[in-house]
């Protein structure tokens, strides 16, 4: 029987707000 495809790994996503914070901190870090 064909090998069952491996289950896909769920990638945890930050919320839009968390992404915004990440973005702000990146912009502050960048020179």
């Amino acid at each position: 029987a064909p090998a069952r495809p491996r289950p896909r790994v769920l990638l945890k996503a930050p919320t839009l707000a968390e992404m915004e914070e990440m973005n702000i901190s990146e912009e502050e870090d960048s020179p």
Partner: protein
């Protein structure tokens, strides 16, 4: 060389590879600096397909960090563009179309059988192999709602100033303009400086502009329909609220004009195949107000006819319009207090909430129904104008 290039083209599996350090360049050239006209002659939503092909390669090499980074940068890039151009209809519509298309791609190629029913066998080969991006789809859905709300805000800001003069005051039927309510020969107060008056043609031209831009950019038809349902709700609310404040437009002749102007808007909806959108139904209160202005207002039968017709107007709105009603000449009788009492008596059992003005800022919830594409990834061509030569076809 020639053979290897041909083989390369032949073996293109619909993925795009890039070096991690090129991600900022990808986001800049494909999102933050991209002008919609750069890709106007290509397949609609090309940026969304390119982004999906990049995600797919990162999934193919099982690099979760690369997927996280690309999706986060993509979402932040789109938010950044829209924040910077928060009054640009074309750009907002463009990114609504592309964000929805990317969302549809992540579903269509998720490997989830529910989203693959319309896939070709070739498309099923282009599914993600390693990662489940359900949570990122949720984030993209939230982003789509934000972009849609910005699009509505922009379109309403453009249309709202046009509504009263174009729909309520526009004298499209020649010859009726002489038939003005007594004491209101000149145009109404809102036309102090003529330059803020718009014709019915102007508002229909604007609706056409919105419609053609959204359609050319590949925005899902279901979303285009919701945009116009929302806009026609606003048109109805602004025009009716204005009518409920002005004696000079509560007359038989304005009723006639108004009904004609609305019929032109209804024709426009039919011409754009927007009958299913629910937009025409949004005009029902205004249609009934126009008819109320034209109906006889004397006998108890007249009162019954008005009450059975004006089902989309509240009791307060019906009474207000009758109180404001102004005969066009000395031969036409005024609406009597007795008649209005009769109306109120007929409407008593309705028990409708005391509501006079409509909330023209009300926004309906938006839905993004799944809309798979028939385009296969390996048929996508990258135009040189996008400056994405650092992407390698795989």
């Amino acid at each position: 060389m020639q053979v290897s290039v041909q083989r390369k083209e032949k073996d293109f599996q619909g993925m795009l590879e890039y070096y991690k350090e090129d991600e900022p360049l990808l986001i800049r050239n494909l999102i933050t600096d991209l002008k919609p006209q750069t890709v106007s002659a290509t397949v609609p939503c090309l940026p969304a397909y390119i982004l999906y092909m990049c995600i797919r390669h990162a999934d193919y090499i099982n690099d979760d960090q690369k997927v996280h980074s690309l999706l986060t940068s993509t979402i932040n890039g789109i938010k950044k563009v829209l924040k910077k151009h928060n009054d640009d209809f074309q750009l907002t519509s463009f990114w609504l179309a592309n964000t929805c298309r990317l969302l549809h791609c992540l579903k269509q190629y998720s490997g989830d059988a529910d989203f693959m029913t319309q896939n070709t066998p070739k498309q099923n080969e282009h599914c993600l192999k390693n990662f489940d991006l359900t949570e990122y789809r949720q984030v993209l859905s939230h982003l789509s709602i934000q972009i849609y709300q910005q699009l509505i805000k922009i379109t309403e800001a453009i249309l709202q100033p046009m509504v009263v003069s174009a729909v309520l005051e526009n004298e499209s039927i020649q010859g009726l303009s002489g038939v003005k309510p007594m004491g209101y020969r000149n145009r109404s107060s809102s036309m102090e400086d003529g330059d803020n008056s718009y014709s019915l043609h102007a508002i229909i031209h604007q609706l056409n502009t919105f419609h053609s831009i959204m359609s050319d950019q590949g925005l899902d038809p279901e979303i285009v329909q919701q945009v116009f349902k929302q806009l026609f709700y606003m048109i109805n609310a602004v025009a009716l609220n204005n009518l409920l404040l002005r004696k000079d437009v509560c007359s038989w002749s304005t009723g006639m004009q108004l009904r004609f102007n609305i019929s032109q808007l209804e024709d426009w909806l039919r011409g754009k195949n927007l009958q299913q959108s629910g937009a025409a139904q949004m005009l029902e209160p205004l249609i009934q107000a126009a008819q109320l202005l034209q109906l006889k207002k004397k006998t108890s039968e007249d009162a019954e006819a008005i009450c059975s017709l004006c089902t989309s107007l509240s009791t307060q709105q019906i009474v207000k319009i009758l109180n404001l009603y102004t005969p066009v000449n000395e031969f036409e009788e005024r609406v009597t207090v007795t008649f209005i009492r009769d109306i109120q008596m007929h409407l008593q059992e309705r028990n409708d909430p005391p509501q006079l003005f409509l909330d023209f800022k009300h926004m309906f919830p938006v839905m993004f129904p799944f809309n798979p594409s028939s385009i296969t990834m390996d048929s996508i061509h990258l135009p040189a104008s996008l400056n994405l030569e650092f992407l390698s076809k795989v």
